[in-house]
Point group: D2
Chain length 145, copies 4
């Protein structure tokens, strides 16, 4: 297990306040679950208006919650004055995103003063089954004001 | 200029019908514009509920229209029995996605029997100015039923 | 732990014979270590002619062994008639690749009939220390003759 | 056509001197060709010891010259005190890398104070024919001493 240095003791409040400003999360119906140093989870229940042409979650929707989970994993390790932005990410789509809800779980791979590399998995959960549908690997940048 | 082989003379109708089934496009307010062999454009007007924490378009939103534009660029070259799915993509976020509307423009880089590689650009347009905010490079797979 | 289906009981011999044909591995001085179902490791000792401008291993060198490790992780799960090719990969460079040797360790994330998604890590090892310098996420395709 | 701001009038000399320090370029037999603001080309003749298992150029070799071409495209736009490192890149392999020589051509997509996004193509050239075999999209970081 990696352990991370926490620079802002109020990191959880800060992440939750920032998430609440991401209006697209409200539009999609996503909610922030667990917030830990270097790791965040976001859940998104299935809905008829989140789909691609076959009725699965659109890959962009899965990616949207993965990207927010990744950004907040990075932000959880920043000091209180530093902001976060995504600079790039790649996703591999591992299975059709079909289930009762999507769950994105992020983890910081490498914290850094300027760049933080984060991975995330998105799972499609239904009852007792959970299928990993997306793998995300991206870079978050620290913006100092 | 690359020229592509069109296997389905009704490719434009097919792309437009499939796009109409992508319910998330309705949720976001995206509309399909130009449909040509190997290239598609999608436009998404700004709205208060598409944002990340700073009021810009969320990167996941820009990515969602880039991914659909890429998928339909590939589908435009498929025969009438073949379906398309995204298998992976990477995006680089080049500038804050801030403008009156986003515009995704895709182009097939390399068609193939199984895999089609597509690039796309997303622009933030406001009045006369247009800023490229995202570069997309991904792989679409042909699914034969 | 994931367990994988082995379709070729002679997978290890097959991987080792194919690796022996990768002439660039000889040029670089890389050797194949562990070969297991869905996972392979490759080691590359430091040498003065593998460097970028600062004397670290060139990122392309680290990527080369990551890519081979990823390809052979996929091949280890294929039947005896199926070949493997890389179709795409992304790497994040996490730290300067500076050490006595590089060690690439791959793991299949998602096997598939056509596409297999593989991740790999490259570590720079020196004495007792080991630093992860590269994260790889890519797609291998099964070629049936 | 994009035009770039040149901060170091001696950019070409600087790029060529740095390339000469990349010892792996000598090992592979790669040579730096054109150096322009924001764009560089590198050529690598075919040789028996640069191959994967089928006798094509190894994807890692194609990627190595693409990465150097991308890094130097970024460096060509930096001031004389700033160094360059790759932070991440993704490649799509478009065709078997089979020909008399590989040629990597890079182009800066978006220069920046900290991060510069670069794309590159690698072509396999033989006689009059030229096939694009690889597309590269990556991020270079400016290191100020």
């Amino acid at each position: 297990m990696t352990s991370f240095t926490v620079r802002n003791p109020h990191f959880e409040t800060r992440v939750r306040e920032s998430f609440a400003k991401q209006t697209v999360m409200g539009l999609l119906g996503a909610s922030l679950q667990r917030v830990e140093p270097g790791s965040v989870s976001i859940v998104l229940p299935a809905r008829d208006d989140l789909c691609q042409q076959d009725g699965y979650f659109h890959a962009g929707v899965s990616t949207t919650i993965a990207d927010s989970a990744a950004g907040y994993a990075a932000l959880s390790l920043f000091d209180a004055q530093t902001e976060v932005l995504s600079t790039e990410f790649k996703v591999n789509l591992l299975a059709p995103a079909n289930g009762d809800r999507l769950r994105a779980v992020s983890k910081v791979l490498k914290p850094g003063r300027t760049l933080t590399v984060v991975e995330a998995d998105v799972f499609a959960d239904s009852g007792d089954t959970s299928v990993r549908v997306l793998k995300f690997l991206g870079t978050m940048i620290a913006i100092r004001s």
